[in-house]
Symmetry: C2
Subunit: 339 residues, 2 copies
Amino acid sequence: MNTMTDAAAVAAAQTDAKSFRDGLFSHGILIDTGENGLYGRSQVFESVVDGLNAAITHLGADQDPEFLRFPPAMRRTDFEDSEYLKSFPNLAGTIHSFCGNDGDHVRLLRCLDDAMKESDDDRSEEWMKYQKPTRLTLTPAACYPIYPVIARRGPAPANGHTVDVLSYCFRHEPSIDPGRMQMFRQREYVRIGSPEQVMAFRQMWIERGSLLIDLLRLPVEVDLANDPFFGRGGKIVADSQRAQALKFELLIPVALEDSKTACLSFNYHMDHFGAIWKLACEDGSVAHTGCVGFGMERITLALFRHHGFDVHAWPDDVRGLLWGDTKARIDHGLAGAAT
Amino acid sequence: MNTMTDAAAVAAAQTDAKSFRDGLFSHGILIDTGENGLYGRSQVFESVVDGLNAAITHLGADQDPEFLRFPPAMRRTDFEDSEYLKSFPNLAGTIHSFCGNDGDHVRLLRCLDDAMKESDDDRSEEWMKYQKPTRLTLTPAACYPIYPVIARRGPAPANGHTVDVLSYCFRHEPSIDPGRMQMFRQREYVRIGSPEQVMAFRQMWIERGSLLIDLLRLPVEVDLANDPFFGRGGKIVADSQRAQALKFELLIPVALEDSKTACLSFNYHMDHFGAIWKLACEDGSVAHTGCVGFGMERITLALFRHHGFDVHAWPDDVRGLLWGDTKARIDHGLAGAAT
């Protein structure tokens, strides 16, 4: 193991990431909050996100998805049921609140006053011992809140069910790489049905997702992938996920020169969520599920990386796709792909 | 003190709120998650929110606001600095995460397994002792993240500065009243400048906010108000806030028959945020701040309450304002108000 080279590679990646992030800050595209992975968004950044959302809507319109939006939190018992904590305990966020009385409040404020005598980075978090768990957690992926809600309706129709969701998600992984945020938006199409329906859906979205990225004039590379499972046992689970080809990612160079960032992912959950939340098919079998996830911030950052910080100088067809005749360009792309 | 009557009034309000919420669920406008104050949004609900946002944008366009968007979280040290915990400790949400090793993970999962043997409502939260505070908290009001960011830029220009923000906010107050959510969106215009600039801004927005609600054919009633300060000392602070006329609210009957819900608020913070974050005016004095906040879910719910669950049956001019010639109708309203 060549640790010198590894260390040098990490340092180089940090430099790449920092330099790209500095560019985003200095051009006013993202706004520095002082915290890695937590950024304000400018109007131009949000206009790219809006344009992408419109394109993704047209790309999925013929699937007649059900439109659902959830706040960035979910019920804690649903989150516990999801088994997310088995795989990614380090990434999850739970919400805590003060539930005490006047006396506790006085003590909390005294703790906080003491903490605030120190510099920001040295502040004690002692006051937070007064925070108690609430019944909510942050949403770890946009599709999580939908399964228990859909399950309660009864079996999926014979031709399956498709849902369109978008939400801010939280992952506790502070990073200097702007492509790795703690709070970011995922847009997803989710399919609930038979294994054949879900596999066909995933294949279609690998093609359509690649089409979108191609129309945005970004490099397309789809590869087998695995989730970052926690701990010593994580590698075994990751290997198994790869062996079963459950996850593919569309990778684009974003902040780093030598490694690529997953901007879309195409996931087959098999009956994992179906079994947990008793999602059923019309014939009574356990429903399988799958989803395509669009990392809205990551695709947006990829556009800034490859086309420059000035959106007015982006290629005309990219500007047209985002803010012009979006529907016509998507329809034309879909027609071309079908021939 | 007539506690019987009080109890009867509370019971009646609960019945009102539950019946309105049941209507929203049964018409598929909001989606039940099983948790009070946490709801999914349907396409029709979101289309009303989108229409309102477009109208609010036109209503403020001549103010040339800076557009800023933040994720629904802020830096914990900024949140601590804000003094929110002095006034509303019970409403704030902090974000916690697992930061342990493999062994801790095993112990966490063992706790969780035990908890999950119980029914949802009886589950132990013992596993959450492994959750540690992160450096982020949930955003309590949409404008909070902007002050430290704006302060770092240096003094406000001589004619002040106006910011347009929108964010999901968290308040820990589970309620059966759909007008009181734990996760909801606030759109705000924020003014930073001299006391005269901020007072003039607030007066203008009391008028413009009333105009918007009038154009939506909802009843307009603006009243002096106070925030729900915590604890025994809270009443004194609330009385002082009223005596200084720092807060006005636009109240509309929403879920409850006999009491009204604050759908917009018009706030003068004096130099509270300016002093905390060292926001300065061009002449070196501490900047004053104020904001108008639009409760996006509350205004949307008021529309459903007053115009019915079927948006196709809403008055033509309300539909036109939301989804038709929004700009022309707002401009016409502003011109009428100016004469």
